[in-house]
């Protein structure tokens, strides 16, 4: 076992870093920048049953230390993904986490059935937290009964472990996590984006054609850390943490809060090399704090926390 390796249901990763869904396409664009086999894994863009064009543009807006997106689940549909996108990832020999979306329970189920059957897919990530589509997505993610029901049904048909991706736009994320754990989820992904909006002060019009969008980037990291910290105390599922991670230090912070692996989203846009750079830096940081295996970092905060003193 190498020093950085982590092992989660379906995901045996040589390091805990994987790009977050929607921020890495289906991998091929970043393959022009570096060797994807350096990654711990890849989360691919959301798949729906039929191809979707998504929302009108503008689809992104910049905010302080963050961005809003309202892509709207554009993708070529699950068949297209299985036939045209996944095969290109085979040579890298790393676990693929397939993100799944839909407007109805039936759609989620069918997409899961098809994509989880692909030998190239290691696990599925149930996206019940997309804030940018009118139907499905977040409506499952903010009511814990619907989330649990959907999880159960998807689990029934999935040939691979199921991670449920939670929305931060809820009063009580722990309740949601407990509900999907109870329903049979194999793991959690958290967090998806916070719903946000930006207006042009000159005109008063929203910047995004979709008006609202999902807030991501370093701005939301404190919310992600808090939610992972809270949820990891109450559920025993492994957590793929995400939300604002852009440095190796952020990765260790998030693992300390309770994450077993860490996904990097927005930071890929800022620096296309961010994932391999983080992976390269991690051993150095572990040396600095005298930790041998990175997996020991998970939940460290809970195990040993005491009131810190501000120290010179």
């Amino acid at each position: 076992m190498s020093r950085l390796s982590v092992s989660l249901p379906g995901l045996n990763m040589k390091n805990p870093i994987l790009p977050a869904s929607g921020c890495f396409g289906f991998g091929k664009e970043y393959a022009k920048w570096y060797d994807l086999s350096l990654l711990g894994g890849i989360t691919i863009k959301a798949a729906t049953l039929e191809g979707r064009f998504g929302n009108p543009t503008p689809r992104v807006a910049e905010t302080e230390s963050g961005m809003l997106n309202a892509i709207g689940l554009q993708n070529p549909g699950v068949k297209g993904i299985i036939e045209n996108e996944l095969p290109a990832l085979e040579p890298y020999n790393i676990p693929i986490l397939a993100n799944i979306a839909g407007s109805t329970e039936e759609e989620y189920i069918e997409v899961t059935r098809q994509i989880s059957a692909s030998p190239l897919v290691s696990a599925v990530e149930l996206n019940i937290s997309c804030p940018n589509v009118k139907e499905g997505g977040i409506q499952f993610g903010t009511h814990y009964k619907s989330a649990a029901d959907l999880t159960k049904k998807v689990k029934n048909v999935s040939e691979k472990p199921v991670y449920v991706k939670l929305s931060p736009n809820v009063s009580n994320i722990t309740e949601m996590a407990e509900a999907v754990e109870e329903a049979g989820a194999d793991g959690l992904s958290m967090i998806n984006t916070l719903v946000g909006m930006k207006l042009d002060w000159r005109t008063g019009n929203p910047i995004l054609a979709n008006k609202t969008g999902g807030l991501s980037g370093p701005a939301i990291k404190p919310v992600a850390i808090r939610m992972i910290y809270e949820v990891s105390q109450k559920v025993s599922l492994p957590i793929i943490g995400m939300g604002g991670v852009s440095t190796a230090e952020d990765v260790l912070e998030m693992m300390s809060a309770g994450a077993s692996a860490v996904a990097v989203g927005t930071a890929n846009f800022v620096n296309p090399y961010v994932c391999p750079e983080i992976i390269e830096k991690l051993p150095e940081l572990l040396d600095e704090i005298g930790v041998e295996q990175i997996s020991e970092m998970t939940g460290r905060s809970l195990r040993q926390w005491k009131t810190p003193l501000s120290s010179r």
Partner: protein, 256 residues
């Protein structure tokens, strides 16, 4: 496709809020195709995370120097405009397809039509077309005299007609108002500017051969995030990504 750390050699205001930034470094050697862009980081510690797409305006291969012209308008470009010579700018690129010149008939006249901050890439394009032997004419549209820039530089390459919205310089009106007299010799058209201008140009130039360069708000700039799509009827997918499939398209190819 690479990330380059380039050093600023100059960064000066050449017209109202319009800056000319010259950057130097070995990476410039790859910047050979006009119409491509650099995805420019605003800075390492700034709260403005997203890169700004800026067109390559010129490259001096001997000096290893690339020129960008940009309007300091929003927060990011304003921050760029405050940078001093010697500071490092992190750019990705060259990105995008650029203008493909190989298939163009050298005996043609090229009509290059630019509006506002769409003008910069036409300079590099004009130079390359001249090198190839084409006659080059420019129609450049600005808001006013105060907003106009690089006129002399363009005049060195070819005939240059200027329009201004307020009439303070050149023809009063839009670039399309200067197109009438020129379309008769069936030139190849290259046009860069706001979508509304491109649409008007496409209408005026109906039937002619030409290329337009689009802009859209971008995330990644490299084709991964689907922020910058544009509908098209010609392609199977039903859309193109401006950052990767473009920014240059054949006239009529995309739905403006």
């Amino acid at each position: 496709m690479k990330k380059h750390l380039l050093s600023i050699t100059s960064n000066t205001e050449i017209a109202r809020n319009i800056f000319e930034m010259k950057l130097t470094g070995p990476g410039t050697a790859t910047m050979t195709v006009p119409g491509q862009f650099l995805h420019v980081s605003v800075g390492k510690h700034t709260s403005k995370l997203l890169r700004r797409p800026l067109s390559i305006c010129d490259v001096d291969f001997e000096k290893e120097e690339v020129t960008l012209l940009y309007r300091a308008q929003g927060e990011g470009t304003k921050q760029l405009s405050q940078k001093q010579p010697g500071e490092i700018v992190d750019v990705l690129g060259p990105l995008g397809n650029g203008f493909f010149l190989e298939t163009i008939d050298d005996s043609k006249t090229a009509l290059l039509i630019g509006g506002g901050i769409g003008v910069p890439p036409l300079y590099y394009l004009g130079k390359k077309l001249r090198e190839k032997g084409l006659k080059v004419k420019f129609i450049l549209g600005y808001q006013s005299l105060e907003d106009s820039f690089y006129i002399e530089q363009f005049q060195e390459i070819g005939e240059t007609i200027v329009t201004t919205v307020d009439g303070s310089f050149g023809i009063k009106g839009f670039v399309t108002d200067a197109m009438d007299q020129l379309t008769s010799d069936e030139p190849v058209i290259y046009s860069v500017g706001p979508a509304v201008m491109l649409k008007a140009v496409e209408q005026k130039a109906a039937g002619l051969n030409g290329f337009i360069s689009l802009e859209e708000r971008m995330g990644c700039g490299i084709g991964a995030c689907f922020a910058c799509v544009c509908p098209t009827e010609n392609r199977q997918s039903g859309y193109v990504k401006i950052c990767n499939d473009g920014p240059v398209f054949k006239m009529g190819e995309v739905v403006l």
